[in-house]
Symmetry: C2
Subunit: 490 residues, 2 copies
């Protein structure tokens, strides 16, 4: 029985589970044959440097499934008859998936605070139609229908390069590539920089698509707590010292889910700290174009153009999320490697959307649309903050972002945002509880209100319902009458 | 010095190089600290089960870079002062990349047989424009601009499901998802099914984007030789017995690069063999819609609908490669997992192209376009085969596909297709030598002629140039005058 399981300590999957999954596969694939004797638990534990109980737990699972059989005094034997010929065993082939489960679908007709995306009602369809027509009547029509380059549709790439240069976010050593949205940029970064077990530091709470991406590849994920002023810089320093992450991913503006923005001073500290630690700093800036109040701040990337910061941006939040076009600016060696990964991943980003968005931007339509988005966003932000002030129970806290799409609410103890969700949904309102965003710290009492997709009246109504349910629950738990002890849980 | 390098024998990277890269990173990341003593070469070789010379080679590289210093009789020590604070070392962070280098760009103005893609001149731009207009004037316009589902734009997905059902390629246990082209389908399959070191069997020669994808993730790649009738089934059986691949990827129709098609009998044998071995069979069928002669054959997927075959298809070869839309049909548990991977990879495939291609197909325009593609393809295939008959030197062999975009030429010994390329390019013709497609067997004398993007006259002219250069070289090597021995290589 030469092939032994291999353990990945930092993978997030319990070790007995890793052992079980791999041994099951050895048996079902025929690498471990029927009748063969398994190593004794003590022996295997010794070889792999594990606790014997861990190995026994894995053997127990295998025996429960009838895949092995223990004989007192003789050890355990592979008992499966012959899995070959029965085709593919998907459960065993696919193994476990270390990502958090997705939330249930939103009940239709509900006022939904669940999605951080723009309002469908604001889409300037006529402008998009014109951009599309101009592209397909233009001289490049045939070229955009042909196979392209992993770096992006060259006219769009040049347009973005020039805009980045003007803004001061394109360093002398930098290159720019187009991606299928920011999610792909994060995926390509993980793909070229991280191997299973390698350390990465991210915000906690954070957008689930970021957390799950790193969990899926088996990275060692450290969550750095968020404050109302962005990532906690002291905690980040501690994580840099202790974990030596290869990658630190930070949202500079209107973070998802907290809405927090880093001050200029914080940006400087962040840059220095990551640079001193030799970590790659990734600035995820998909909400930066959506500031409704206050003064815009320079991107972290702009604060020190010679630092090896990687900047991610996208058209999706400021225009149309259904057109998947984003871009990355970063040091040339990194972008070079990401181009290779991009080519293997999907050859290149869809040309039609790249060309149409370029036309939409070049024609000034994007800027005009952004003006309307800022107006609408300001109104919706006001509605959600006024609603929270008015309807949230005493002791609730919420962030006060100056832009973006999200407000983070912490309910007073002992309210549990997951437990309350069902009750709120019965009144036709829904949101995502904090646990979907939690990395290392529980966020039981927290929830995210994504306000950008709703009308101001819907926001007011939704927050009123949420606040009333929370207040009613607080009253039930702390009746004004006195301090009747709760019945013991038995 | 607790952290030791980990070796992946099947990764394609030489072991001394793996050792060097990892140790360099340990030093530069500070895991191995300045002044620390490295294990003796004999000791490390013993621990890792390697040859001592392999370890010495890695130490030699580190010493040459000044990262370690050897002291006679005392061993080697980490000599780097302090890499922290100097920022990011990209060479070390990114490591080596185990994929074949890309070919040089095609000289502009050349008759290029290098790309397996349709002719830009055949694109029905007016039809596409109409499809685009209809989509953006239709009731779904706003919906397609909003964030969507990882499974695809639902009306397109339903359309493809119905078409697949009618064709008989949708088994009772199957599900269908849209991908950003076939490349992404392959990437998602690799992502959910393969871990580094796990075995996979592919055709040899094969499309480089497939080979490189598996090499990049560190899979153990076995190339199964191709015959003019498709993958060699005896060799495949041997690979299944010896390597137990988890995944077998096969092109049923007009394989890239050979143009070979599997007979119905071969499809049946293939199904049985992979099924008996418990391997997942992936049928890559992006050229199946482009048959110019002969009778169409059922997809492998259709031959046994209850087998766990995974079928990949795409709009890119039969319509517009610049619009990145393909789809996968496969067993529900697998597609379920791929949906999760897709969401982390890029959220979902671009909506605009999905909606436009759906309209293009539903309106009958795709079928009309395919009719013109078949006519044009037949003419081009005839041109390339006639050219090869007429101009290739005696002893050359070439495949005779009945469809697709590629003909595979084997030049007579001792011609080397890479060596001849420069000479052919000087006469304004270019192609890809066989080595770009080789997996485990060299393909020195072979080359691919991708004919679909050219006009028949260009094909005739290009093959004439290629044939003349080859013939001239054969004459030079074997002058009709006699058998003068070549000068010795000294």
């Amino acid at each position: 029985m030469p092939q032994l399981p291999q353990i990945q300590p930092g993978s997030g999957t319990p070790i007995y589970r890793q052992l079980y999954t791999q041994m099951k596969q050895f048996i079902e694939s025929g690498q471990w044959k029927a009748g063969e004797r398994l190593p004794a638990t003590r022996e295997l534990a010794g070889t792999l440097g594990l606790n014997r109980a861990t190995v026994s737990a894995a053997y127990g699972l295998l025996e429960a499934e009838g895949l092995i059989k223990g004989h007192v005094g003789r050890g355990s034997f592979v008992s499966v008859e012959e899995v070959r010929g029965r085709g593919v065993n998907w459960t065993s082939l696919l193994g476990d998936r270390p990502v958090s489960p997705a939330p249930a679908p939103v009940p239709s007709g509900a006022i939904s605070f669940s999605a951080s995306r723009p309002s469908t009602r604001l889409f300037p369809i006529e402008d998009l139609r014109a951009s599309c027509r101009e592209v397909l009547e233009g001289p490049q029509a045939a070229a955009i229908l042909q196979l392209g380059s992993p770096g992006g549709y060259e006219p769009l790439r040049r347009y973005l390069l020039e805009a980045s240069h003007r803004e001061g976010v394109l360093g002398p050593e930098d290159e720019l590539m187009v991606t299928s949205g920011c999610q792909q940029a994060l995926d390509l970064l993980a793909r070229v920089l991280l191997r299973p077990g390698e350390p990465v530091a991210i915000e906690d709470p954070v957008y689930p698509g970021l957390k799950n991406l790193f969990l899926e590849i088996g990275a060692e994920v450290t969550g750095v707590p968020m404050t109302a002023a962005g990532i906690d810089l002291d905690e980040l320093q501690r994580a840099l010292d202790r974990r030596r992450p290869k990658l630190v991913v930070v949202t500079s503006n209107f973070q998802n889910p907290t809405g927090a923005t880093l001050s200029l001073g914080a940006r400087e500290v962040l840059l220095r700290a990551t640079r001193d630690a030799g970590a790659v700093l990734v600035e995820n800036d998909i909400y930066g174009g959506l500031r409704y109040q206050g003064q815009p701040l320079p991107a972290v990337k702009q604060v020190d153009g010679s630092a090896p910061t990687v900047l991610l941006r996208s058209f999706s939040k400021i225009s149309f999320p259904g057109l998947r076009v984003g871009w990355v600016i970063g040091p040339r060696p990194l972008i070079g490697r990401m181009l290779g990964a991009k080519q293997l991943s999907d050859l290149h980003t869809d040309h039609l959307s790249q060309a149409v968005l370029l036309r939409f931007a070049e024609s000034g339509r994007l800027e005009a649309h952004r003006g309307r988005m800022l107006e609408a966003g300001a109104e919706r932000l006001r509605a959600v903050l006024e609603g929270c002030e008015r309807w949230m129970p005493r002791g609730a806290e919420f962030t006060r972002p100056e832009g973006g799409m999200n407000v983070w609410v912490r309910l007073p103890d002992p309210l549990d945002a997951s437990e309350l969700l069902g009750r709120v949904q019965r009144e036709n309102v829904t949101y995502l509880p904090g646990r979907y965003f939690a990395v290392s710290r529980p966020a039981t009492g927290a929830l995210r209100l994504s306000f950008a997709g709703l009308e101001p009246e819907e926001i007011a109504q939704g927050v009123r319902v949420l606040g009333s349910v929370c207040s009613a629950e607080m009253e039930r738990l702390n009746p004004p009458g006195g301090l009747e002890p709760a019945p013991a849980i038995v």
